[in-house]
Symmetry: C2
Subunit: 476 residues, 2 copies
């Protein structure tokens, strides 16, 4: 694992927030954590600056492409300009799929008209010029699963679902198999292609892409998502066709381009005691090709960076705060896995990530409520004033913090309101204008409060006991 | 002018609503107009059936294309199946522009990334492979107008605006020149292309197309619309570029395909006294290529057809109710002009159109408030229970009823709530799901009430006096 340390003029010219805090300390009392978090609630501009910057100056940054590389360079420069230390790009290799440029679909009979479509990540290509076949409709994943082997021979499968908005995003679990598994299943049953109702909740002409199949066992058939208006239109055609076959033409040219380089960007606010396991704040920096990735996950990276800088305003923290801006999350969590592999022997104290948009945090969860109830209660109590509820649910973390699960260490979930998330997730509409600055700042305030308590916690976060001296022991 | 009368099996098999009403008349009292309008408010399914049908079974139907022809055939069959009489397709010829298939834009420096774009109607094409040039930003149409001649030589002009949502849609007037006139102006000043901030109010990745230039004096340069998220992104790039030039690559392949046939679909509920000038209800049947035209204007055609059928439920009306489903409105009001030319010598009593979406009607206007105050007051009073306000504004009608202005006859405007209209207008998002069935039914109720009073009015609608006997006198 090669670390590419960044040394830019910007980094050298700008004082780090820690140095500034030390200076302040000589002159006047440092602000309290509570004051800094409260200030963030109405005044933060840092998280916005990050997400505005990466979406405007980089734009879409799909993993393994030149655009993702530019995204990492941009992020490292931003971190350096804001005084982070030990900034690095930790590269890794992964098989890379690109969407191509031709994304066409049309019903050819009995109601000929074009449809909007985009390929799912990992989709096969059609022959040049496209394919045309009868469409077989399935109202649900279960209906497709019940179809007999070979029954889709020569056909295009269409699979629907009834995903609904939910504050906790839980309907993604219900509808997700339509994207995750149905294409492979349709291929097994003989289909020549599959189109799905986008796994999403909005009614705009924006398909929701996302991974299907796997790099180890890629699809050979084309697999594409229709926006909800087009999917519903197709379903109405079945209702109105009186049994006449519905035929569709599909033309897609995605392809695999071999092993390409992605990377994880890291940076630190170095703590007073670097012997203590650090606090890991995570997000992911890559996006799909079809949007600049504001909600998913430029905002998350802005939130964690702003929170770390806010903690530093209260004085150098006891523990190091480490940022992980993971690469290649969308295409299969490659960055999260690579980070865990590279750093598995370096215990972390606790990890949490921001990767569910930019709407308000409404619930606090940890996985140490029973092993360290005092700290859990202190954290939950500290964020209550921001409208965050306590929870007995055990935090499991998300895509970007494999290392915490692999180490078996402490995890926190700061659950965001996901009501709007699947309106935007993996669509062209994931743009900066969707971010509500008021809710973004609430995220920064909550993250500041939680990160600040954790980074100054002298005892084991997982157990409340003394921190083990043996560094080989995982997760404190 | 050739009339192609439709005779379909469907038309022969189905009894006309007038026949049904006559049958009812023998058995039981006919319902009152008020009862029929009230029933429409909660129970109408006819308008929905029309707009669902035309958007599902035909889809996009741009003027002069095969799809528009299918739209006319579909509409004539629907009218016949619902018992309208004297159904015809009145064809006309017009120069026709088509959008092509390649609609690409990308910023190439200093922040390279793709942008979503669609051509404006009448746009020129780029050379194959596209053009790349520096972008010059104008914050408004006035700023572009102030640029000196030749100052855009070799450049791509970008023109912004500050359109806002308005219940009366009035901001279209403020922002419209950015689409209507700026491309021709930029061409005159030497620009090699122009991109505009879409003349619209939504933040989805949907460009708003629409006519620019004219068929008589077509643009030679490419002219395209960016969705608001992309336009705002471009503007942020100017803010962040520190004076570095912003360059863009643009590739568009629209073209003119010569004279093509469009047509106006007409149909009637024949009145008891065909000597009396008819009541004309209008909409337009064509849409842009990028959407099935649900709001603009499938809904309008459904509303007027449903209202005419409702009036017939109360018994055969005194005057004939004529429907005009105009062709080729979007591309330059060709159908409205052709209808006026063909029928200028056939006086109509009054005309009104539905062509502003499907949201609730909130205001009643006429152009005979001073010449026939009793009728104006009676109409305004009759629709008050549906939440419609009276107005002193003089109705002028819209795009589809040139004939009323040309004849100088009576006009009514049933103003719809346009708050959402420019979220959808001319975008891919103009799909059936955008229609609120509750508000659509309110439209049908109001139209039923107004059309029923007018179709049974024995005196001149414009003056309240006796209807002139000389048919050559325009507009009664």
């Amino acid at each position: 694992m090669k670390n590419m340390l960044l040394t830019t003029a910007a980094a050298l010219m700008l004082a780090s927030p820690i140095a500034l805090a030390a200076h302040d300390e000589a002159d006047a009392p440092l602000p309290t954590l509570e004051a800094v978090a409260d200030e963030a609630l109405t005044g933060d501009t840092v998280a916005w600056d990050f997400v505005e910057g990466v979406t405007t100056e980089v734009g879409p940054r799909q993993a393994g492409t030149e655009a993702e590389t530019r995204g990492r360079q941009w992020a490292m420069q931003w971190l350096a300009a804001h005084g982070f230390e030990n900034i690095a790009d930790e590269p890794f290799e992964m098989p890379t799929w690109v969407p191509g440029e031709t994304h066409k679909a049309a019903v050819t009979a009995p109601f000929p008209q074009p449809l909007v479509v985009q390929p799912l990540g990992g989709s096969g290509a059609t022959p040049a010029g496209g394919i045309e076949a009868e469409v077989i409709e399935f109202a649900s994943f279960a209906d497709l699963a019940a179809a007999s082997d070979g029954s889709l021979s020569g056909k295009i499968a269409y699979v629907s679902h009834e995903m609904r908005r939910a504050q906790d995003g839980s309907h993604y679990g219900f509808a997700g198999p339509v994207r995750w598994v149905a294409p492979t299943l349709a291929e097994q049953k003989g289909a020549v292609a599959i189109v799905i109702k986008s796994v999403g909740t909005d009614h705009h002409r924006n398909p929701h892409t996302g991974v299907t199949g796997s790099a180890d066992n890629p699809l050979t058939i084309p697999a594409a998502a229709l926006p909800l208006p087009d999917a519903e239109n197709l379903e109405r055609m079945f209702d109105r066709a009186d049994g006449r076959p519905i035929t569709m033409r599909l033309e897609l040219d995605p392809r695999w381009i071999g092993m390409q380089t992605s990377g994880n960007v890291v940076g630190e606010i170095v703590g007073r005691n670097p012997e203590l396991p650090p606090v890991l704040l995570a997000c992911h920096l890559d996006s799909w090709w079809n949007a600049p990735g504001a909600f998913d996950d430029g905002a998350g990276c802005g939130i964690i960076a702003a929170a770390a800088l806010n903690v530093a305003k209260t004085g150098q923290p006891l523990r190091t705060i480490r940022l992980l801006l993971a690469g290649a999350e969308e295409v299969g969590l490659w960055g999260s896995r690579a980070y865990s592999e590279a750093h598995i022997d370096e215990p972390i104290a606790v990890a949490f990530e921001s990767d569910f948009g930019a709407d308000r945090i409404w619930r606090f969860e940890s996985n140490f409520r029973q092993t360290n109830p005092d700290l859990h209660a202190r954290l939950a109590g500290a964020v209550a004033r921001f409208g965050v509820a306590n929870s007995t649910i055990t935090a499991t973390g998300g895509a970007d913090i494999n290392i915490a699960r692999d180490q078996g260490t402490a995890i926190i979930d700061l659950q965001q309101d996901g009501t709007r998330y699947f309106d935007l997730h993996h669509t062209p509409d994931d743009t900066l204008d969707k971010i509500d600055p008021v809710q973004l700042r609430q995220n920064v305030a909550v993250w500041t409060q939680v990160a600040g308590i954790l980074a100054n916690e002298p005892r084991s976060i997982q157990t409340g006991g003394p921190v083990p001296s043996a560094p080989a022991i995982m997760g404190e």
